[in-house]
């Protein structure tokens, strides 16, 4: 047993009691990071982490993040530390400032030990497209299964007990899906709840700061720290921050859960459905009201295309500044156009180029109404239906993924409802900007599957309360690839 196998709350008690020091924790986290064989890291920050941890000598009893080691996805700006978003186009780029969330964690004396690998520029959901190659799922030592992405290295860091907390970003499901595949708690709060200042933009109307922990309580404690107004992000909310952990143990008596019929109907894994149904029965026993609700198949099956068109179009525009002139490798050329062409041709991977072309195609004057504008209209209808359901229910509750992590090379019918609906519905939370959390449900042949709970905007406190009830039902608090458990469902 190592201290790093504990939750943040447990670690905090040990730190305050001086059973362990931040320096010892950082040393152990760094040793584990260096021993990682899942390709989780862009950069391990040994000197910086040890220097900072060694200054932390007087425990702060009221600060749960004091001395806690953490990892950040490599699309968060870190002052003086190379940050590439796992793309060759940003090789060598060293930000001049810290992202708002990095600042907040530093101010609370959490210790950044590494920058994590990701799908290139956060565009991708497999953990296979970063410039350092495939990131592997720590639950599968044979390295045959996807880790999921785009926040793959951040997921590995927490699932392999290297740190108890990591920062990710979530534009479609990039924290909440890998949370399902890695047995973690993955939280994406309301759009605007956490400042995105210093997060490399992918699709700003959908981008969220999100994060991984191994317990719902830790997730609530993290939001206490990360949430709040930041004048440098004009989209950050003015609403006051709550004590998000304050109603965790209040249960779900009288709370109303909507289960989306079409998501269940498009999930074919019988074990997933059986365990999900068992969780519904357990919730009812706790006094919750559960109802199967039809969302509308046409709306749900269009989520994937709507997401793809909007996100690729926004990315095309956002990433126009990656020109090899102001930052990133400079390859020269006879004209400034050639300088840019060289930097972008050499810097972007095949997948990124394809996504950009799709975005550009949907923005062409001839196509804009039929593709981009229409996707924005579809988004509006999908969001209206989501909010309509949440006007009558406290939560929308569904499996976070249709199965355990898939094997590399496994193919799926990209026009099937299992793909279009069951595998891609988490983008609903991004379309509507609603708070959404994934928690582990059960293990199928030793591999985790999660469920997702989504609530009303800015009602994170209630969301954590519901998620904690599910965590108690499953018995999978503080699950990881190291802390293996059977669960109670």
């Amino acid at each position: 047993m190592s201290y790093l196998d504990l939750s943040i709350s447990e670690l905090h008690e040990a730190l305050v009691a001086k059973k362990v020091t931040p320096l010892e924790l950082a040393q152990e986290a760094l040793a584990r990071a260096k021993a990682d064989n899942n390709n989780a890291f862009e950069l391990i920050l040994e000197d910086e982490a040890l220097a900072f941890a060694s200054t932390l000598t007087e425990p702060e009893a009221d600060n749960p993040f004091w001395g806690i080691p953490f990892v950040a996805k490599d699309n968060f700006s870190t002052k003086g530390i190379e940050t590439t978003a796992s793309s060759n186009v940003l090789k060598g780029y060293v930000p001049l400032f810290d992202a708002a969330v990095i600042e907040r964690l530093k101010a609370k004396k959490a210790v950044l030990i590494a920058k994590a690998t990701m799908d290139e520029l956060a565009m991708g959901g497999t953990g296979t497209t970063g410039h350092k190659g495939i990131t592997y799922n720590p639950w599968d030592p044979k390295h045959t299964r996807l880790c999921g992405g785009s926040s793959c290295g951040s997921a590995v860091s927490v699932a392999a007990n290297i740190v108890p907390f990591s920062l990710g970003s979530d534009t479609g499901d990039s924290v909440r899906k890998p949370a399902s595949l890695n047995g973690l708690v993955g939280m994406k709060p309301t759009w605007g709840r956490i400042s995105r200042y210093g997060l490399f933009p992918f699709a700003p109307s959908l981008d969220h700061v999100a994060y991984f922990t191994r317990s719902v309580k830790d997730s609530a404690l993290a939001l206490n720290l990360l949430a709040g107004r930041d004048e440098r992000d004009a989209t950050s909310s003015l609403r006051p921050v709550e004590a998000y952990e304050s109603s965790l143990e209040e249960g779900v008596k009288g709370k109303k859960f909507a289960v989306i019929k079409e998501i269940i109907d498009s999930t074919s894994d019988k074990e997933v459905l059986a365990k999900f149904n068992a969780s519904l029965e357990a919730l009812k026993k706790e006094g919750a009201e559960v109802e199967i609700v039809s969302f509308g198949e046409r709306l749900l099956e269009s989520i994937y295309a709507t997401y793809f068109v909007i996100s690729c179009a926004e990315a095309t525009s956002n990433d126009a500044n990656l020109d090899g002139i102001k930052f990133g490798p400079y390859y020269g050329g006879k004209s400034y156009q050639e300088v840019m062409m060289n930097a972008r041709t050499k810097g972007f991977s095949k997948l990124i180029k394809r996504r950009f072309v799709i975005g550009s195609f949907s923005l062409m004057a001839e196509n804009q109404d039929e593709l981009f504008r229409r996707a924005q209209r579809a988004r509006s209808l999908i969001v209206s239906r989501t909010n309509e359901i949440l006007a009558d229910f406290d939560y929308i509750y569904v499996p976070a993924a249709p199965s355990v992590a898939r094997e590399f090379g496994a193919t799926s019918d990209k026009l099937s409802n299992e793909y279009l609906i069951a595998d891609n519905h988490l983008a609903l939370g991004n379309f509507a900007g609603l708070p959404s959390i994934t928690v582990p449900l059960f293990l199928e042949n030793g591999l985790p599957v999660g469920v997702n709970l989504m609530g009303r905007a800015f009602e994170e406190k209630s969301l954590f309360q519901g998620a904690r009830a599910i965590e108690k039902i499953t018995g999978l608090e503080n699950l990881s690839a190291v802390n293996k458990k059977e669960g109670t469902l």
């Binding site: 780029y93 605007g192 269009s302 709507t306 062409m341 180029k353 394809r354 550009s360 062409m364 990209k414």
Partner: protein, 98 residues
């Protein structure tokens, strides 16, 4: 909608300031065949063309301006730190005119 062809896709790539190899173009063209079918799901939504386009999840709550205080957020040396081709305190690029 514009007909999808290898030329149209290469044109899109050039507008984006990068080249696609023949192999990349072919893969993209094939990908578009599936993508077109996926995009058709949007058109099947009843009333989609009458809905208002949604650009952000919520209206932003900001209705004020910050104080107009002069500051120097970045000095020149810092601004040039990440540029690959710098000369005499400026980013150097090939001649544009003449």
């Amino acid at each position: 909608m514009k007909e999808i062809s290898l030329e149209v896709l290469q044109d899109a790539a050039h507008r984006l300031m990068f080249e696609l190899s023949d192999e990349e173009l072919k893969t993209l063209y094939e990908e578009f065949q599936t993508l077109k079918k996926q995009m058709e799901t949007i058109g099947k939504i009843e009333g989609v063309d009458e809905a208002e386009p949604m650009t952000f999840p919520f209206a932003c709550e900001n209705s004020f301006l910050r104080e107009d205080v002069a500051e120097t957020p970045l000095d020149r040396d810092e601004a040039l730190k990440n540029a690959g081709n710098v000369q005499d305190g400026q980013i150097k690029l090939p001649k544009v005119v003449g």
